[in-house]
């Protein structure tokens, strides 16, 4: 449940903030959310990875569709990719990894302040 909540929050916050803030805000949002909403490490990573990966895929795919690949094809070819789909995938992957790492960093950060329960009690 927390996982789904986090995904919804990351997507909506990113969607509204990204047009106005530097691109790396997609690392900061999952970082902060993983501090506020505690889950485990894998869940922190994948909430970032999947939300931004999905969001960036959705936006770039839509632009590609709406503009009949007018620029995607040119940039893909410039990057020596032979299909513009790869460019959409690379875009999504870059966003996904940065956001995933941001989420994981948030989790490991809040862990620093967690008191370890002694096994001897």
């Amino acid at each position: 449940m927390k996982f789904v909540l986090k995904i919804i929050l990351i997507i909506s916050l990113s969607y509204f903030l990204q047009p106005h803030l530097p691109w790396w805000i997609i690392g900061v949002i999952p970082f902060l959310l993983s501090i506020i909403i505690k889950t485990n490490g894998a869940s922190s990573f994948f909430s970032g990875f999947l939300s931004i990966g999905g969001l960036w895929f959705y936006i770039s795919y839509n632009i590609d569709l709406e503009t009949h690949s007018i620029l995607t094809e040119k940039i893909a070819s410039l990057f020596t990719l032979n299909n513009s789909v790869y460019l959409i995938l690379i875009t999504s992957l870059i966003g996904a990894v940065v956001a995933g790492l941001g989420g994981l960093s948030g989790y490991t950060f809040i862990k620093l302040f967690e008191k370890k329960k002694s096994p001897y009690y």
Binding site: Q18, G27, S60, I70, L71, T91, K111
Partner: protein
């Protein structure tokens, strides 16, 4: 342990963000900051546009005095309606920036020798050259002159205000894609940048001289041989002003020829000259020769073909004038165009406008130089070139009163260490903008003449037509009044006798109004015949296009606008017509195998037209290229740069001087004749064809595949370019499309009761490769078709052709 985990994950996060935020060098290429660039919310994705216009419908620009309305037509041509010049040019600046921001800034960086700031060390030599020939120095000088004329300077400030308003409205996501790819940002526009754009054009059109090469040739072969191969007036030329025109000059001043002798060492390096053979065509047919008695005007200007296109089309409407035409993005004024009374357009009028003075300095410090027996102080300027990702380059440039010492021990260092100062007409302040300001407001020939007298550089053949059916041509520019052969060779810098002795009076520039033949035309050929009282020289005359145009216009009566469109797209080669029979007749066919004769047979059946899929033009190009190289082997094998003879004079010598000494190949023991050369070059041509087929497997050799005409993006990005086009033409035919150059626009204007016009150019109004209109006109340009011009009289005209209406308020 927990701390360690945190360090790893935060480290990985920050590292990935860092490396995705900077440019990465991979092998020869540089990647843009990937995170920033690929971000779909702000990166390159935002430059992809579903529609051709993405602009606010209403906004305000402080500084406007009244409301401005802009109507965009289906071809994305803005029709700007303003109440005064200030408002007009503010809007024009905004419009130009919104369509072409990256291009206009790049041109100014190029002109100012600042490319290395963006590109890095690859462009340092280009930048140094621009600084050394005085581009920024002369741009600053001309700006000071402009400040004395508020009518133009205020317009330039208004234009800057418009451009800057657009720049300040941008966020990263709105930047043109090239800024994102190269990862830099636009800077503020100023009137100085417009001066740079004009200097850029002046350079392109006036510095293809060969004074140093001529000097080398003179030293090696002597004056007689030079005059035989490079005559000032070749036999049979058809000048701009019809031969036989009487010159009735009252102010004629004869320059004084010095009697001193002066020797120069051989010079082994020269900088790269702009493409020789850049040209244009213009003509205007008067009422006596057209079907319905109205003058028809046509112009196609030939330049390096680039994307975004060098031209941008606009209509300007104020209570004072209503003009339509081509502007150079970066300058506010219409350069070629028409208004409700007249049409005008230009071709380049080549003349030798660069001269080199050999300076004698007192010592190695070069603080003082000798002039008329005195030591004069030289001026030294320390120039810093900023280089991206590298150290600054510092260059010292010495100026004498002649101009900057371009060639010296530090630049193109030649073994002689000579100091050559450049005197260039573009170094003089001039008022072309005042001319353009007056042109759009001209109503008749007198207004036109009054306007163009301010046009100094680059000199142009101005064609004129009006609605009364009049036509005229004026060879306009500020031409030094030179004594015979002055500046054809390096000049002695130590004496005042070799200075330019004033300029040819403006009234005495070649001109003609309503000539008997019923039309005027120009195509970069000689301006006049030998009877013109002043000495006229350039190394860059055109010999073929002009005769084709004149033949057609002389032979055709009752001409209509469609004939002129056809003529603009004509690919018939007079060069081939005059050369090929001689070549084919000289072939020793009995010594050539049946298979090898197929090329000659194909050429024998050729109609001399450079059609896109014709094979013969490719064969002919290859053959004549080989022949040219072995005829002039003395020139191409030389250790020092020498001038290149024209094809025209080469053919003239072949026909009239078959025993000319240069026909012998120098490095062979036997003595070759012209006939030998033709046969040897035919064999070489067969070899070249074989090699071409091996290099291009599966491809058919024809005009298109041989030239592979390409319109390159300014940053040489192939994906943003139009490559390997299937087009006809070559440099010598009216449709002068070569591999990289050609008609940068074509326009035909019918000056009747109502004005009708048609045009096209190899590109589109939008400079954004992600805009559907980036190459909007390209196919029509290739096919030789035209778009009708929507010449608005009122804002509400052409409602069906208006796709977007924009209002700018104060």
């Amino acid at each position: 342990m927990k701390f360690f985990k945190f360090l790893i994950s935060i480290g990985l996060t920050l590292a990935s963000i860092y490396f995705l935020s900077i440019r990465l060098h991979v092998g020869q290429s540089t990647l843009p900051p990937l995170g920033k660039f690929l971000n779909p919310f702000q990166g390159f994705w935002q430059n992809a546009k579903p529609g051709s216009i993405d602009e606010p419908e209403e906004f305000s620009i402080p500084g406007l005095s009244e409301k401005v309305t802009i109507k965009y037509d289906t071809n994305l041509i803005p029709h700007i309606f303003a109440q005064n010049n200030q408002d007009l040019y503010t809007a024009a600046g905004y419009v130009a920036a919104s369509q072409r921001l990256w291009q206009i800034e790049l041109v100014t960086h190029h002109a100012a020798g600042r490319l290395s700031e963006i590109i890095g060390n690859k462009t340092v030599n280009m930048d140094r050259e621009q600084r050394r020939i005085g581009m920024t120095w002369s741009a600053r000088k001309v700006l000071e002159e402009w400040k004395k004329y508020p009518e133009i300077y205020n317009s330039l400030e208004a234009y800057s205000n418009g451009v800057n308003h657009y720049i300040h409205s941008l966020e990263y996501k709105d930047l043109p894609i090239e800024y994102k790819l190269l990862d830099y940002e636009p800077e503020n526009w100023t009137p100085y940048k417009t001066a740079l754009v004009l200097k850029y054009m002046s350079k392109l059109l006036t510095i293809s001289e060969s004074d140093i090469e001529n000097t080398n040739f003179l030293k090696i072969y002597g004056l007689d041989t030079l005059n035989e191969i490079f005559p000032d007036f070749a036999e049979g030329v058809d000048p701009v002003i019809p031969p036989g025109t009487k010159w009735d000059f009252k102010n004629e001043i004869k320059p004084i020829e010095p009697d001193t002798l002066f020797t120069v060492p051989l010079i082994s390096n020269v900088y790269e000259k702009p493409f020789k053979g850049l040209g244009s065509n213009n003509w205007a047919v008067g009422k006596s020769k057209t079907t319905d008695g109205t003058a028809i005007f046509a112009n196609d200007m030939h330049l390096t073909l680039n994307l975004p296109s060098i031209w941008f089309v606009v209509q300007y409407h104020t209570p004072e004038f209503n003009a339509y035409g081509h502007i150079l993005p970066g300058t506010p004024y219409i350069i070629q165009g028409f208004n409700d009374s007249i049409a005008w357009g230009m071709t380049n009028a080549y003349r030798d406008l660069v001269d080199w003075y050999l300076e004698k300095f007192k010592d190695e410090n070069r603080d003082e130089y000798l002039y008329d027996g005195n030591w004069l102080l030289a001026n030294k300027v320390i120039d810093t070139i900023k280089v991206r990702d590298d150290e600054d380059i510092i260059d010292t440039i010495v100026y004498t009163h002649h101009g900057p010492v371009v060639y010296d021990r530090n630049f193109q260092a030649n073994s002689q260490k000579v100091n050559l100062a450049m005197r260039w007409i573009a170094h003089e302040p001039s008022l072309e903008l005042l001319c353009l300001d007056k042109l759009v407001k001209s109503h008749n020939y007198d207004d036109f003449k009054e306007a163009i007298k301010y046009f100094s550089c680059p000199p142009q053949n101005f064609a004129f037509a009006d609605r009364k059916g009049n036509v005229a041509m004026i060879v306009q520019g500020k031409f030094p009044n030179k004594y015979y052969d002055q500046g054809k060779f390096i000049l002695d810098g130590t004496t005042s006798k070799t200075e330019w002795q004033g300029f040819i009076p403006l009234d005495e520039n070649p001109q003609i109004f309503n000539p008997d033949r019923g039309f005027v035309s120009s195509a970069n050929q000689h301006p006049v015949d030998k009877s013109y009282p002043y000495w006229v020289y350039t190394n860059n005359n055109e010999y073929y296009r002009n005769r084709r145009i004149n033949n057609f216009l002389n032979q055709t009566d009752s001409i209509n606008y469609k004939d002129l469109m056809q003529l603009q797209n004509d690919t018939y080669s007079i060069f081939a017509e005059e050369t090929l029979p001689l070549l084919l007749d000289s072939l020793k066919r009995d010594k050539i195998s049946e298979k090898d004769l197929t090329v000659a047979r194909e050429l024998g059946n050729w109609d001399y037209k450079y059609e896109p899929l014709a094979k013969a033009p490719a064969y002919f190009e290859m053959w004549t290229k080989e022949l040219y190289l072995i005829i002039w082997d003395e020139i191409f094998d030389s250790d020092v740069p020498l001038p290149h003879p024209s094809s025209y004079q080469t053919v003239w010598l072949m026909k009239n001087e078959p025993d000319f000494e240069f026909f012998d190949i120098k490095n062979t023991p036997e003595k070759e004749t012209l006939n030998n050369l033709i046969n040897i070059s035919y064999q070489k041509c067969l070899q070249d064809i074989k090699q071409w087929r091996a290099d291009n497997p599966g491809k058919e050799l024809n005009r298109s595949s041989y030239f592979h005409t390409s319109i390159m993006h300014y940053a040489q990005i192939p994906q943003f370019s139009a490559m390997d086009l299937e087009v006809g033409g070559c440099g010598d035919v009216v449709n002068a499309i070569t591999n990289t150059h050609g008609p940068s626009e074509r326009i035909v204007v019918k000056m009747g009761d109502s004005i009708q016009a048609w045009h096209t150019y190899p590109g589109g109004q939008s400079g954004n490769p992600g805009n559907p209109q980036y190459e909007h006109f390209l196919q029509s340009w290739i096919k030789g078709t035209y778009f009708p011009v929507y010449y608005f009289k009122n804002q509400d005209d052409y409602p069906d052709q208006t796709i977007f209406s924009q209002t700018i308020t104060p």
